[in-house]
Symmetry: C2
Subunit: 221 residues, 2 copies
């Protein structure tokens, strides 16, 4: 059975791979879930026995197709809740992650489908992440890169942001840097790996850490 804890492990393993491109390791999952490494080893054994991940001791872990199905359902619920809270209740996009984090584990398929319908079967959540469909497919996403990897003098569109840190999003709101904003990379300092961008006639510098949470897509001109 997929308990809340197991849903979170599977979701984390999926997201780790989706974000980094490589398989999740014990340490990485432990950091993400804020539990001990020992807890991961233990749970990995169980998830493996249940056929939800493939796991060889000391060799990292990977979702099986069954495990991925479960992960996608959880992620679907999370992202639909986020968008619903923004659209239906007017809650700020910096405030919905934590709520969705809990609601995602307590929402029947019946209810999440009603929410999906209410929203018109949307493709993206308020932070630009694709929302898995009921049938398990994932909407096509544009080719995105981290702002830290953007090139000087090129023009990009801000299309996605890590939703886990509400303070980060708060800052973006304060400076008026919202999803779908067009920006130009004005400068890159190799000294501190900061990136200077201009958007809406403003110019400002973003720290390396910041540019590693912001995803952009190239704009053709």
């Amino acid at each position: 059975m997929a308990t809340i804890s197991k849903e979170n492990y599977l979701k984390t393993i999926f997201n780790y791979k989706a974000n980094s491109g490589v398989n999740a390791t014990t340490v990485k999952v432990a950091q993400d879930l804020s539990v001990s490494n020992a807890a991961i080893s233990e749970m990995a054994k169980k998830l493996s026995e249940e056929g939800l991940i493939s796991y060889k001791k000391y060799k990292g872990m990977e979702l099986t197709s069954n495990g991925e199905k479960v992960a996608l359902k959880v992620i679907r619920r999370h992202r639909l809740w986020e968008l619903f809270l923004v659209k239906a209740l007017g809650i700020g996009w910096n405030e919905v992650h934590g709520e969705a984090e809990r609601l995602e584990h307590h929402t029947s398929e019946f209810l999440i489908d009603k929410i999906d319908e209410y929203l018109g079967f949307p493709d993206f959540d308020p932070h630009g992440h694709p929302i898995p469909k009921k049938n398990g497919t994932i909407p096509k996403t544009p080719k995105v890169i981290l702002l830290s990897e953007a090139e000087k003098d090129n023009v990009y569109e801000f299309v996605r942001v890590d939703d886990r840190d509400s303070e980060l999003i708060n800052y973006l709101i304060r400076i008026g840097f919202l999803l779908n904003t067009e920006l130009t990379v004005v400068d890159k300092l190799s000294f501190d790996n900061s990136v200077t961008i201009s958007f809406n006639k403003k110019t400002l510098s973003m720290s390396n850490k910041l540019t590693k949470s912001i995803y952009v897509k190239a704009v053709k001109n």
Copy 2:
């Protein structure tokens, strides 16, 4: 700390008293929560130590004012979710109880207040139960009696129904007997304690069990 389990115990103890007028006993709470009597004894000890109920072995249990505060918060979340699911998502009033039963434990005060605001700070849920206010007060309710206690030839209004049994509400929907319907008690059979009512030009007989889940208020004429 108030875990999900503890929230459910407190809610059940509160509702038992509210419905029956007398304090909850071990057996009654166990039946309501579908757990063993032993589980109740154990939990009663813990809730008592935490100052949420007053409890003397073998003598039943009663919420303290702190326990009642917690119970009212849970009930507030439950009833607001029920109404919200009906109003915002068009979900049937026979389908919302189970969803609310889970969501009530995973909703921040911030979120439930947003829902409350969205709904215009309503006083009653879709089944006619009063919704506790943010400050812990309960809206004034009309003097209600069970349909089983209604008198022959008198006129009443259907104002509340036990929300836990979705099949019961399904039946009421099928026969078109909705909240706020006016009815007349046409007959009462002492043979099987059934009650015959007429409403909207229809006449039908309700079993004793049914009439013990339906609350009505007298209509002045």
